[in-house]
């Protein structure tokens, strides 16, 4: 640039000097008209040349910048085009169980599409495609191909053999796109927990929906989730335990002809949900009606009166207040009259009962008397503290509000003391009982992996450690002497509480339709896991002697489940342990 400027400088004065004297007059006039009298033409010419230099510099600069841009940007743009031509941007992360087993993953499946504008012979195409894909509707296919649109889907998710056949026909205007499809290798095994996705790979239920709410949906919308997402989601669930639980529950449901069965295994030290089954369930690989009411997740979406398992809360409340001790006794001679209601015991004892007796005989009268001794406000506050009166939110999008009486009078306290009149989600009750067992710390349950230290930081103390110890003793005693005897599996030191709730049918309590449940803690002296078994409307069998109470159906099921899952959970069998009053109560005296 500077070289040209210099030469322009050198050249300009020359014509100016030579032209000035020998100028014809007409030209001079013209020049005057154009430029005026006293214009320094040399200066002006220099300015113009400068302007031209600047203009050229700008143009060349732009060209150079553009060249650099092309050199730098072009590669990445090409790569991007390849990816988006291949996949629809709906990749989802893998979901693994706690041992790394695949619960959900993306697989690429070819989908068939057509570009009707490029088709030559519609009839031929229809004929050949229906030959390979017999389940395609011919008339609909013809209609789609005859439309002059640029792009139509013909069939999503075809198998590789079909793809090969169609490819071999060489039809113009027919092509394949690889799409991500969600695959659930374990089928119905983890259905309620993991949820499912719709045809566009968007989560519609369970953990899949939760993933979308964590920002995945936004990624999908922006079209950014193209490649396989690298970090898989690890759940707390153990597939082996889940399977054992589901298998036993399915057997129990068949045996007792129950409408539904449900079960849950909670790690009481971390709040992790190790297994959760609500039967009947569904295969998430197969599309079905998501509104089918028989397929709800009974543990989180359903609310139930839990029956006598709630007595654990009542007794714990009494013991924790210090007003009630194991030695206290309550009058259970006669049914408890309140207004026009009579509270009966299932097996009336007609005498005063001590607290362990109330717990092991599952005395309604006794539980009601403990709650009355505590008072309405204390009862309400205690259940609130244990999270039984508020909606429990977990990762699962499905949750249900407990049904709490609007006006909580003395009668409510009496019935809630033995588990009627307050409907909670079973998961919620498990969380509460877990807090009674683990030393008194309420830990919000989670479906994701969680370390014990994190759980301790999250949890809040709700009862004293001594109360928790007494509750463990009572739970164990109930298996040794009480209603949960059939759950005993030698070596695992199970503790448990049964519950049988009359179901409300047409606004009144039914005498025949019941919901039975059983909460088992194992091992009772150092609780690690809490198991819930729930059966909806089990029927009486000859071998249950006509009973439908929990002790005859949910409890043996619980025992069978424990025998199967305890080795999987790494619980060592100890065959020569002393009874509860020596092992658990003695440790309490030692610590004092």
């Amino acid at each position: 640039m500077s070289a040209t400027a210099k030469s322009a400088d050198a050249m300009l004065p020359v014509p100016a000097k030579s032209v000035a004297p020998a100028e014809p007059w007409r030209r001079r006039v013209l020049r005057r008209l154009l430029y005026g009298h006293d214009v320094n033409r040399v200066a002006k010419a220099r300015a113009r040349v400068g302007l031209a230099i600047v203009a050229f510099a700008v143009v060349y600069g732009i060209i150079a910048a553009r060249l650099i841009m092309f050199a730098v940007v072009s590669d990445s743009r090409v790569a991007h085009r390849v990816v988006s031509g291949d996949a629809i941007a709906t990749a989802r992360p893998d979901i693994l169980d706690r041992n790394g087993e695949v619960l959900a993953t993306d697989v690429r499946v070819p989908s068939l599409y057509a570009e009707p504008r490029r088709l030559i012979d519609v009839d031929e195409a229809v004929e050949m495609l229906t030959a390979d894909l017999p389940d395609l509707d011919a008339s609909e296919l013809r209609e789609r191909l005859a439309s002059r649109r640029g792009f139509v889907w013909l069939k999503r998710d075809i198998n590789p053999e079909q793809q090969r056949e169609i490819y071999r026909q060489g039809l113009p205007g027919i092509g394949f796109l690889n799409e991500n499809k969600r695959a659930y290798p374990n089928g119905a095994e983890v259905s309620h927990l993991i949820g499912r996705v719709d045809i566009d790979n968007q989560g519609t239920a369970g953990i899949e929906r939760w993933l979308d709410n964590q920002g995945l949906a936004a990624l999908h919308l922006a079209g950014l989730a193209t490649d396989r997402l690298q970090t898989p989601v690890e759940l707390a669930v153990d597939l082996r335990v889940q399977h054992a639980l589901r298998d036993e529950l399915a057997k129990a449901r068949e045996k007792f002809k129950a409408i539904a069965s449900a079960g849950l295994v909670l790690n009481v030290r971390t709040g992790e949900i190790v297994a959760m089954v609500s039967e009947p369930d569904y295969d998430p690989n197969v599309p079905h009606n998501p509104r089918d009411p028989s397929l709800i997740n009974r543990l989180t979406t359903g609310v139930y009166e839990m029956g006598s398992t709630f007595k654990a809360f009542t007794v714990a409340m009494g013991l924790d207040s210090g007003k009630v001790t194991l030695k206290s006794s309550f009058d259970a001679h006669n049914p408890l009259h309140y207004g026009k209601f009579d509270i009966h015991d299932f097996e009336p004892m007609q005498r005063s009962l001590t607290v362990p007796e109330i717990f092991t005989y599952s005395s309604n009268i006794g539980a009601a008397r403990i709650a009355m001794a505590m008072g309405i406000d204390a009862h309400k506050a205690f259940l609130k503290k244990l999270g039984q009166l508020d909606r429990l939110r977990t990762e699962l999008p499905e949750s249900a509000e407990p049904i709490v009486p609007k006006r909580w009078g003395e009668l409510n306290t009496i019935t809630i003391a033995f588990g009627h009149g307050l409907s909670v989600a079973p998961l919620q009750a498990v969380m509460g009982v877990g807090a009674l067992m683990n030393g008194g710390i309420l830990i919000p349950p989670t479906f994701l992996k969680r370390a014990e230290a994190d759980a301790q930081a999250l949890g809040k103390r709700v009862i004293k450690p001594e109360t928790s110890l007494l509750m463990r003793y009572l739970m164990r005693l109930n298996v040794e002497k009480g209603t949960a005897g059939k759950a005993e599996v030698a070596g695992y030191y199970i503790g448990g509480k049964t519950g049988t709730a009359d179901k409300v049918v047409f606004g009144r309590y039914s005498k025949t339709r019941v919901l039975t449940d059983f909460m088992a803690v194992l091992p009772a002296d150092q609780p690690h896991y809490l198991l819930l078994i729930m059966l909806d409307e089990p029927k009486a069998l000859p071998e249950t002697h006509g009973f439908t109470t929990s002790g005859w159906n949910a409890v043996p099921t619980g025992g069978a489940v424990v025998a199967r899952i305890a080795p999987l959970l790494g619980i060592e069998p100890r065959l020569d342990l002393p009874p509860a009053d020596q092992l658990i109560l003695a440790s309490m005296k030692e610590s004092r």
């Binding site: 050199a71 590669d75 090409v78 790569a79 390849v82 893998d94 087993e101 695949v102 619960l103 993953t105 993306d106 697989v107 690429r108 695959a183 290798p185 374990n186 089928g187 095994e189 490649d227 396989r228 597939l239 082996r240 399977h243 054992a244 298998d247 599996v489 030698a490 070596g491 695992y492 025998a563 199967r564 305890a566 080795p567 060592e572 069998p573 065959l575």
Partner: protein, 144 residues
């Protein structure tokens, strides 16, 4: 004169630089294509791994294994009484190892089945087990 030489040198340098830049650009294009190819391959491999893992998960599904085990195996679920600690394992019987022999396994076999033992179907001459003394050249023994 000096100017002309200088110009020629500059022009030559320019041509060299242009050729060099062209080569770099060409190489980088080749590399970029290679990279894109590898990426595609990687993605395909990953997809393939995912689909194999899905298949493996399907085959490894506990429900399927249980059904197969019920059909083909005589195994039963383990009872709590079948677990025990290693430190409660009884001591090994002292006479198991043949004191005279160097090879303890051969000694055990010799102990289990003395050479003079005659089974019902096999004549003693064609005995399956060679006597413990000849266990050193066992590889040749079965053909005799």
């Amino acid at each position: 004169m000096i100017f002309r030489v200088f110009n020629i040198v500059v022009i030559g340098a320019l041509i060299l630089a242009a050729a060099y830049v062209y080569r770099i650009k060409f190489d980088s294009t080749v590399q970029a294509e290679h990279l894109a190819k590898l990426r595609t391959e990687l993605r395909k491999e990953r997809d393939r791994i995912a689909s194999l893992r899905a298949q493996w998960g399907e085959l490894d599904n506990p429900a399927r294994i249980q059904a197969l085990a019920n059909r083909f195996l005589q195994l039963k679920p383990m009872a709590p009484t079948q677990f025990d600690n290693l430190d409660r394992l009884p001591e090994r019987p002292p006479d198991d190892a043949h004191a005279a022999n160097d090879d303890p396994i051969a000694g055990v076999i010799g102990n289990l089945e003395p050479p003079e033992a005659v089974t019902g179907t096999i004549p003693p001459a064609a005995g399956v087990l060679p006597p413990p003394q000849s266990s050193g050249n066992q590889s040749g023994a079965p053909n005799q």
